[in-house]
């Protein structure tokens, strides 16, 4: 009886200590995540103006979102941006990871070099540099001129402005590359040797060994990159200001403009929730497909 009681006390103390350890995180979660989420959900049903307060409650913001061409265009622009940048960024990262997955002298140097853009991150400074590269009298046009090609209005034409902000995201492929590289290096060498002895060609080895083994890494990269691309803010905010004519106004920029420029906090909150639902559905759909194409090594062992 006495021993049981002591054990129970110790367990309680452990639990208490555990709670103490995560109490900071819980506090942060409540203040920085839960409270704003609940706050934004409630106020998404109001006409909350940043300085005018609330005069009306209802579905007006959601009705506006459903009928406002600017908002719908922005949602499609965000999807377009994600559909351009995620595949191209992952293909670039994978291609470079394949090249760097060789045991050649000095390879560590090249790995570092390719990772540098990601260290710089999607910072404002890099975005400003990007503007300087692509403005009418910038380096990109100077390069085109020197090759005898016509100059392009990179920042002021709809298609090219989207290209400029997409290129910045694709260029910063380092983090995805590191994930691919780690996955590639974890593929057992003996499998390749066995396959080679069995007469498998390079393509067959790639499709039957490499791809299945790195599929969890591909899955991880797709999920994280879609999440990040859909939330992109810095590039359109600094480089194009959402222009020309709203062609690069991604949804996060629209949320910011609604709240802090137009002072329409209610609409901004509703936009956030609509965007959250769209992103959640998208991620859920991708998750549901994983059982068809993602191969986990421990699953085979169980089989």
């Amino acid at each position: 009886m006495k021993r049981n009681s002591g054990k129970s006390d110790r367990l309680t103390r452990h639990e208490r200590e555990g709670l103490q350890f995560i109490s900071l995180w819980i506090t942060g979660f409540i203040i920085l995540r839960l409270f704003p989420a609940v706050f934004s959900f409630i106020f998404s049903f109001s006409d909350y103006s940043l300085f005018g307060g609330i005069s009306e409650w209802g579905m007006m913001n959601y009705e506006k979102i459903a009928g406002d061409i600017t908002i719908i265009t922005s949602l499609f622009t965000t999807l377009e941006y994600s559909l351009i940048t995620v595949p191209l960024r992952l293909l670039t990262a994978f291609g470079v990871a394949l090249l760097l997955n060789r045991n050649i002298k000095g390879m560590a140097f090249f790995r570092t070099v390719f990772y540098i853009p990601s260290v710089l991150g999607s910072s404002v400074a890099v975005a400003i540099l990007w503007t300087a590269l692509f403005r009418n009298d910038g380096t990109a046009n100077a390069l085109l001129s020197s090759l005898g090609l016509p100059e392009v209005n990179w920042l002021s034409e709809k298609g090219s402005a989207m290209f400029v902000i997409s290129l910045l995201r694709i260029w910063q492929f380092g983090s995805s590359m590191v994930v691919f590289l780690t996955a590639l290096r974890s593929v057992p060498r003996d499998l390749y040797e066995s396959a080679e002895i069995d007469g498998a060609g390079k393509v067959r080895r790639f499709t039957s060994i490499t791809l299945p083994f790195i599929s969890p890494a591909i899955f991880f990269n797709i999920i994280t990159q879609i999440g990040l691309a859909m939330q992109e803010f810095n590039a359109p905010f600094v480089i194009t200001k959402g222009g020309p004519r709203g062609s690069t106004t991604l949804i996060s920029l629209l949320i910011y403009n609604s709240a802090f420029q137009m002072r329409d906090l209610g609409l901004s909150c509703a936009l956030t929730w609509v965007f959250f639902i769209i992103l959640s559905v998208l991620i859920a759909v991708i998750f549901s497909t994983q059982k068809h194409w993602v191969f986990y090594a421990d699953e085979t062992e169980e089989l």
């Binding site: 300085f51 209005n153 002021s156 034409e157 200001k241 020309p244 004519r245 709203g246 420029q261």
Partner: protein
């Protein structure tokens, strides 16, 4: 458990001791602390800091905590401060902030309540009226400003022309620039908001009535369309570059545009108080001159003026009298006004004007521009003219209308309708 209790007790004692030590220091000196914030450039910071120091020397019982920075990002920071209620005691404000941030009138102190400490005799009632709402004086205006042409005369001379003094000469300059200086050179550069401004000035000169009167838009869609056609004709006549061309420069404002610096854009239509910024951007590579309003613009003086900025006192301040004393020092006192100079434009306050005049501060390009602006200003801007729903980039109505026109997405009629509906919506008229 006992150890825990002891630790908590020790920590609590330490916090209490520190707090009491801090409060003792404060009460020992009996010094009152007030805070003051403003935006501006280096020279304004320097002048204001000197005035703050001089005031503190005169009033040893008052300490002023200052907060200042450049305009970029300042409005966003102040938006957050006003929303959170963390604004300074004395705030330099944009005139339209009285409408945008203070629509219920609770943010700023009624300065009539501290008129024993703040002498308002340097202003006429009409001058204080734009800052008075429901009988409450919510801020004191510092200076008046308006838009005016500035030219880089060196570029015009290169094209064999003098700076334009009529609209006809401006149209001609567009053609001559194209022929002699090249497709990329323009006599004037106007971004979306500048176009709106110039259109309103043009319509004022044409019709002789203010843009907004008694809280209502004073122009019909057909009249606005005439103004839009005028702006469109400038772009078509190679007088101004297209919005696409300006966006392609990758600069937020013309004073940062390489095309302004190297003379490809030879003119701007800007606030008179912004002269030095554009002059400095030329770095001595051009003869920067103040232009005249065009004599053939219309038969009326269609110019506008507005309060460039004002000082307000937070309603939350614990020391309203001290705040008023400081404002009195920088707005009326001979020493304070001399130190503040004309860094915030040519003062409205007559006491400050006589001090600046005696100190020979009322000269130079700002004075010349301000004189021309005020001489031509037949009207005052309504406070709603700069409402965020109209003025902000890129979501505001002015930006949408004029970039849509320039990109060929809107006809002149549709542009006029967008402006008319947008303004009426902000003014609370039914509009459509």
């Amino acid at each position: 458990m006992k150890t825990h209790l002891l630790r908590i007790a020790a920590l609590a004692s330490a916090v209490l001791l520190t707090a009491s030590a801090v409060s003792c220091t404060g009460s020992g000196n009996a010094q009152k602390r007030i805070s003051f914030s403003w935006w501006g450039g280096e020279s304004r910071h320097e002048a204001t800091m000197n005035a703050v120091k001089a005031f503190e020397e005169k009033h040893e019982d008052i300490k002023i905590d200052v907060k200042f920075g450049a305009w970029d990002g300042w409005e966003d920071a102040m938006t957050a401060a006003f929303y959170a209620g963390t604004q300074t005691d004395i705030v330099q404000i944009n005139w339209n902030w009285l409408d945008v941030f203070n629509s219920d009138g609770s943010l700023f102190l009624d300065l009539n309540t501290v008129s024993d400490y703040l002498d308002l005799s340097g202003y006429t009632e009409a001058e204080l009226d734009p800052c008075t709402f429901d009988g409450k004086l919510e801020a004191v205006p510092v200076s008046l400003t308006g838009r005016i042409f500035y030219w880089n005369r060196t570029v015009f001379e290169k094209a064999g022309l003098d700076v334009p003094s009529t609209l006809k000469e401006l149209y001609n300059a567009g053609e001559v620039f194209r022929e002699k200086l090249g497709e990329d050179c323009y006599p004037l550069a106007l971004a979306e908001y500048d176009r709106m401004m110039l259109m309103v000035y043009y319509l004022g000169a044409q019709y002789g009535k203010p843009w907004i009167e008694d809280g209502k838009l004073n122009y019909t869609e057909d009249e606005i369309c005439k103004g839009v056609e005028f702006i469109d004709s400038l772009e078509k006549g190679h007088v101004i570059p297209s919005i696409a061309e300006i966006s392609g420069d990758g600069s937020i404002t013309f004073d940062r545009s390489p095309k302004w610096m190297n003379g490809e854009y030879a003119g701007i239509f800007e606030w008179d108080s912004a002269a030095s910024k554009y002059q400095n951007a030329l770095e001595g590579n051009g003869d920067f001159v103040v232009g005249d309003y065009f004599s053939d613009f219309g038969k009326y003086d269609g110019g506008y003026s507005k309060i460039s900025l004002a000082f307000a006192v937070s309603a939350k301040t614990a020391h309203p009298e001290e705040c008023a004393e400081f404002l009195d020092f920088i707005l009326n006192d001979p020493e304070g006004t001399a130190l503040m100079g004309v860094e915030r434009g040519i003062p409205i306050n007559r006491n400050a004007v006589s001090v600046c005049d005696a100190a020979e501060l009322l000269k130079g390009i700002e004075k010349e521009a301000n004189d021309k602006v005020l001489a031509n200003a037949g009207f005052s801007f309504d406070i709603k003219f700069e409402d965020p729903k109209l003025k902000t980039s890129p979501e505001g109505i002015y930006y949408d209308a004029f970039s849509g026109l320039s990109y060929g997405e809107y006809s002149t009629e549709k542009t006029a309708k967008i402006i008319s509906d947008g303004v009426k919506n902000v003014l609370g008229e039914t509009g459509k």
